[in-house]
């Protein structure tokens, strides 16, 4: 029983980690209607920034979020302005897909060029110490990640529901043309949203950096899992992505123990395929206007 509880706890902690990566991805998809294949590389860039800042200035990696999140906001906003915006009206879908695939390839290999294939260990500053919750051992850093993910989801929901800008963002997502008629600057909204989505993963990267060694390819692993969480929770839904991430975290931990640690990914991706094929709107998804991206 202790082992089971420990596995469940590990799964939830892992879920928190996936959630903080997935939230930005689903936000960008829900509003801009673009699947950002470079999202994992955004995470990787954030983790390297966190590593460089915390080792260079000898500060706690969490403090670097103050610089990393704004930096990622700029990266995201520039991506939208320079790469996605010129392609928004493209007739063929493949153009947008290859645009972010190209960005992903370029960023990953740039990191390889600069940092080499070796891993970079961000100093832990105590977040890898364990705490006992009853019978269960957990890393403090994992608890912080989960807490941050919850705070981020609630914060984003409040922002989207209660603020003027948030309402403008939702209106643009619902109907771009009508939003423009209401005087909303849709191009600005898309740039802002892409920036916020990237800043979310920037925040996440400062929290993840002390827990995971940073490498140029770290993003690929996380982004593929994040896609699974996002689709599971219903594309574009922020709370959906959060709960999807918890489910996938649990599946990952349980299948790793009961089926075999080398087959965890096979289980996760099989679930992903089943959801995509059988229920593309996701487990918690509400129907949304995807007319131009799905059948």
């Amino acid at each position: 029983m202790d082992t089971f509880l420990q596995i469940v706890a590990n799964g939830l902690m892992l879920g928190g980690l996936f959630a903080i990566v997935a939230v930005g991805l689903t936000l960008i998809f829900g509003i801009v209607k673009v699947i950002n294949f470079a999202h994992g590389e955004f995470l990787m860039v954030g983790m390297y920034l966190s590593f460089l800042l915390s080792t260079g200035l000898d500060v706690h990696p969490y403090l670097t979020a103050a610089a990393v999140a704004p930096a990622l906001f700029v990266l995201g906003a520039l991506t939208q302005r320079l790469l996605i915006q010129p392609l928004m009206s493209a007739r063929d879908e493949h153009v947008q897909i290859f645009a972010t695939v190209g960005l992903s390839t370029a960023l990953m290999n740039l990191a390889l060029l600069i940092f080499g294939a070796d891993i970079a260990n961000t100093p832990a500053h105590g977040v890898r110490s364990q705490v006992m919750l009853g019978e269960v051992r957990i890393l403090t850093g994992q608890l912080w990640v989960l807490a941050a993910a919850v705070a981020l989801v609630i914060g984003l929901q409040l922002f989207m529901k209660k603020t003027r800008t948030g309402r403008a963002i939702r209106a643009t997502a619902q109907n771009r043309a009508a939003a423009r008629l209401m005087g909303i600057n849709d191009k600005f909204i898309y740039i802002l949203t892409f920036g916020i989505g990237a800043a979310c993963v920037g925040l996440g990267s400062s929290l993840i950096a002390p827990l995971y060694p940073t490498s140029p390819t770290i993003g690929t692993y996380f982004v593929l899992i994040a896609f699974v969480c996002v689709v599971l929770g219903g594309l574009g839904s922020i709370p959906g992505a959060f709960f999807g991430a918890l489910v996938i975290g649990l599946v990952d931990a349980l299948s790793g123990f009961y089926i075999g640690s080398d087959l965890r990914e096979a289980v996760v991706f099989t679930i992903f395929l089943l959801i995509l094929i059988l229920k593309p709107s996701g487990l918690f998804g509400t129907r949304m206007n995807l007319s131009h991206v799905s059948p």
Partner: protein, 593 residues
Amino acid sequence: MTRASDTPMTAHRLGLIAVAVLLAGLVAVPVAVGDQFVYHIFITICIFAALSTAWNIVGGYAGQLSLGHAIFYGIGGYAGVILVNLGISPWIGMFAGAAVAVVAAIVVSWPCFRLHGPFFALATIAFLEVFRVLALHFRELTGGATGLMIPLKIGWEWMVFRERLPALLIAFGMLLVCLAVAWAIRSHRLGFYLVATRERESAAKAAGVGTVKVRLMAVAVSAALSAMVGTFHAMYLTFIEPESMFSLQFSIQIAMFALIGGIGTVWGPLLGAMLLVPITEFARGALGSEAIGLHGFVYGVVLMLVVLFLPNGIMGLVHRFTAAPGKTVGEQAAPVAAAPRSAEPREAGREVMRVEGLQKHFGGLHVTNDVGFTLREGEILGVIGPNGAGKTTVFNMLSGFLKPDEGKVSVLSPSGEWQQPVTPGDFASIGVGRTFQIVQPFAAMTVEENIMVGAFHRHPHVGDAREAARETAHRMGLGPYLNAEASSLTIGGLKRLEVARVMAMEPRILLLDEVMAGINQTDVRRAVDLMLSIRDTGVSIIAIEHVMQAVMSLSDRVIVINSGQIIAQGDPHDVVRDAHVIEAYLGKDFTHA
């Protein structure tokens, strides 16, 4: 040369000569230079060009963006190496690999066809990950993470050589096979069907294209070719492991070459690989481990630049310079060669379609309520009714696009039996053709190619279909636009193209959904003549129409639908005086007007 027809013969020939020179160079250059490293670069070019050409059949022609094509390459590689270790020649192993890859391709693709664009891409990535994880897991078969070596058996029989020349010849041969297959598909019916399905799936279905079948064929061919190249590449590398055989980056590269060269064109993938592979290999050879990541960085940047500034790739650039100076498409349309209308009202023939008790609900909305009627041979049946009355829903049930909740649609087959078709394909093959209210041209195809998609229904050979399409185009007054891109037509032209495509199918029953909406007076008159001339050839027509002038002068009989029910039917002049009809259109106050 996908658009051979719209470039002058000389440009076409120049293109073929250029391709021949490029291909000859792939063998001649390394032989002339004689350097091992140059050989290696050219072998790699051939392998990537072949893989990219195979990918293009699915990713380009069919428009299914696979980012998991390494699945098939990896299956081919593993099949080859595993069999070689059992003492079986890779020449046999590559066919075994191809067979497994075809099965895998069908299993992977079939459920994914309902996914579009980025979702299809994500699903293929997920399948690739599953294959990679399974290859790592089943160590007894694949050697797991440690990988598999091939035994050092040298000779043609084992595809392993001391010199590089034989390897180059095999790689070059495989490239030629892939190019030949890609060219053959693109220039035959299958290629037209694939592009049509990519551009407008529903219109392709209405034209009788088995959209799932043609895509499965494309995927199967593409997978088999990829697997065969994979077998050879594994022999060439002498060592394989799951991380390199089932690699996402590798899959992306394959797709990238096609995109950069020109997605959906026959020669684009070849050009893309010839341009980019040398960059990789030189970076690797000249800079060594210093430059790890450099080629990938260049690839990524080139990909973004191409997408932004050259979305049709190198082939797009080539076309811009070689294409004949664009004929300015004249504004005035050619007259429709309509037969003069016979003065006598024709006698309606036997029944050809029976519609009985159709019911359809969308959620709580009762959109079709007990609709039933019959259609006779050589009759024009007008269907009118206010907006939202459910006319198009009825049409969708008469052509297999919607399944009625209750009721049935029976069609008299050419052999004289009553049949009940179910799918759009069934309706098309029994001779029911339809148009769409919102025009659905295959935008990336020329007018002629659009009509050919319909003509293939009766004429499986390209030459015959082209001839039939031209004939139909002239009848529809589209003769001057044969080589224009469909997307360049005016709305009136598009409506006529819509009719032309279905006419080329030589249907016995024609369903026309508002072909006159939004077109000008001249075009309306022309369309009326056109429909009468079609009717006079013995075709039965059901036409949804709002343009009353057209309905009155065309229809032998009229059905009025309101709120999903037939509220009146009969002679057009009687129906418009019917009180229910006036009420439906104008409200109760006007019933005595």
